[in-house]
Assembly symmetry: C2
Homo-oligomer: 305 residues x 2
DNA sequence: CCTCACTGCTGCAGTTTATGCAGCGGCTTG
DNA sequence: CAAGCCGCTGCATAAACTGCAGCAGTGAGG
């Protein structure tokens, strides 16, 4: 819709940090962009940006406005998708911000399944740590978030929450693999590879370790689970992961996982959520329903709030 | 803001029912308006209006769009008011839809008081029956609603609810005025003037009467409380009203009011509310706070929901 | 200290978009 | 069947937007 161009421009400037850069990405001249901002500021009666030597920064008024603008843009998408839906065409776009754990198995499966039914729907998958995921909801760069142990909750509207007990990951022949369930103390006797503090698995482990008045001494600390998994296969280190991140039933899998005894480490929680109070586009809403049922059937649901 | 013109036009057409009529009220030609709609429909990929011989009517897609448009327009007002508020100027506009009962005394007082502090704020007061009040919230023609015994609740977000026992209204010398409280049966012995079924007072009375297995036989039935009050002064009829509608402590008042015994007629409830989930403009929000405290101090608050 | 790269901003000209006028055909109503 | 609306279209005009070239201000780096 033409009438939203100003808002799109605004958004681009905020993201780019300067009018000229934004003009490039929008493939118009900085002149046009600059003028639009000037007229908007005049209409508004207040400056939207502070002018700095290296670009522009949102003023207080601008902060309010950009929030409104992004909401408008997202809402327009929703309207369009609802109208498309009216004529029977299930098209649209779903953007989802998620923790790494759902990337290898769960999300690919789910998206493939959804697109099997609705091939006209496209997806964006944003890998975001737990704090950034909520931010993505706020600035409407994501419709949905699927996050393990999120940090802040103010703008997060929970759709579903499921329990995710921490599992120990190791190669097949590892001594810990003998028992059904593993005690945390036993883990500490082996070299450990850990995800960085950004991740929920780590924070759950950390607080459990504190209660044990022990200390985690990781041999490897990384923010790539990909690396973690491959490394554990070579060295005899152990690692940790949550069930949704573990490929179940794949044959060519030399890795073994065992749950940690819940007395030692309480299960973490995986949240499916959206921006509080927002009405999602049709496609996003349907997809959310799908993964909600998928989650609810595979894992234990946790009473929300 | 210029970029919202299309939405404003859209809204005007829906209200007017035809493009030509709307064009008049907008003081542009029908050509321009028509063209805007056509291009919007093209951009949208779906017709917004059905064309009839006598004008236009919203299509299904149009219904979705107009809802969005009105929300956007209202939200822009909110943004503007928040930005004005930033620079310390408390300006803005508050539109309130309300039952008649608050018109004579309560609302004039409250608005005057608010405008005493913030003279730059302007008001619209829409007298709406209980059903139309909620409709006004939905189509954003009102920010707030102050309604006695509303009918539907789906889109109504309650801010405060206070109890309003029904009072009997009569002229000074009336026999019923002797006691502190009046039984309903006693009222039935006198000629009665009643508001029409549109009003909450009537509906509360009606259901109470049914329980008494008696019948109301009103001498006068009207939708004007103004008339009701003046008539009761001349004839010896009695009438009914809720406390907030009764001028308390004014000297030049020949009317007397007595509460009906709560065993006969349970108190009705006066609701202050807004559109569920909407963020109000600053002025409306402040004003709502003011009347909420005013209501809470004068009357008994009722646990919401 | 000076240079240099980068910023936002402005006057002018060209282009695109929106508007207004007159008029057509279709429909309902009296 | 005529009158009165209605939405819609071709054409000319008015308004808005865009692009080019160039200016002044600012901060980083040598």
């Amino acid at each position: 819709m033409r009438h939203l161009h100003s808002l799109r421009y605004l958004d681009a400037i905020v993201r780019a940090g300067s009018i000229r850069k934004a003009a490039e990405t929008l493939s118009i001249t900085s002149t046009a962009l600059n003028r639009r901002i000037l007229t908007m500021e005049q209409e508004l009666g207040a400056p939207i940006f502070e002018r700095l030597a290296r670009g522009v920064r949102l003023s207080a008024a601008g902060e309010i406005l950009i929030h409104h603008a992004r909401a408008q843009l997202a809402d327009m998408e929703r309207v369009k998708s609802q109208i498309s839906d009216l004529s029977g065409i299930r098209r649209g776009h779903v953007s989802i911000a998620c923790s790494q754990a759902v990337l290898p198995v769960f999300l690919p499966e789910q998206i493939a399944r959804y697109r099997g039914e609705h091939p006209a729907v496209t997806f964006s998958v944003l890998r975001r740590d737990r704090e950034a995921a909520e931010q993505a909801l706020v600035d409407h760069s994501a419709d949905l978030a699927l996050v393990f142990e999120p940090i802040r909750f103010s703008e997060f509207g929970t759709l579903l929450a499921v329990s995710q007990p921490i599992h120990v990951l190791m190669s097949k022949g590892h001594p810990l693999a003998k028992t059904r369930s593993v005690r945390l103390r036993d883990c500490l006797r082996y070299p450990i590879a850990l995800p960085s503090h950004l991740y929920g698995v780590r924070s759950v482990l950390d607080s459990a370790i504190v209660r044990l008045s022990a200390k985690l001494r990781p041999v490897i600390e990384t923010d790539s689970f990909e690396f973690l998994r491959h490394y554990a296969r070579q060295d005899k280190t152990i690692s940790f992961q949550i069930p949704i991140g573990i490929a179940q039933g794949t044959r060519a899998n030399d890795d073994v996982s065992r749950p940690i005894d819940p007395r030692d480490v309480p299960p973490g929680i995986l949240y499916l959520g959206q921006l509080r109070g927002r009405t999602l586009p049709v496609a996003a809403s349907r997809f959310a329903e799908q993964i909600a049922t998928a989650l609810a059937t595979s894992f234990d649901e946790v009473g929300s709030e």
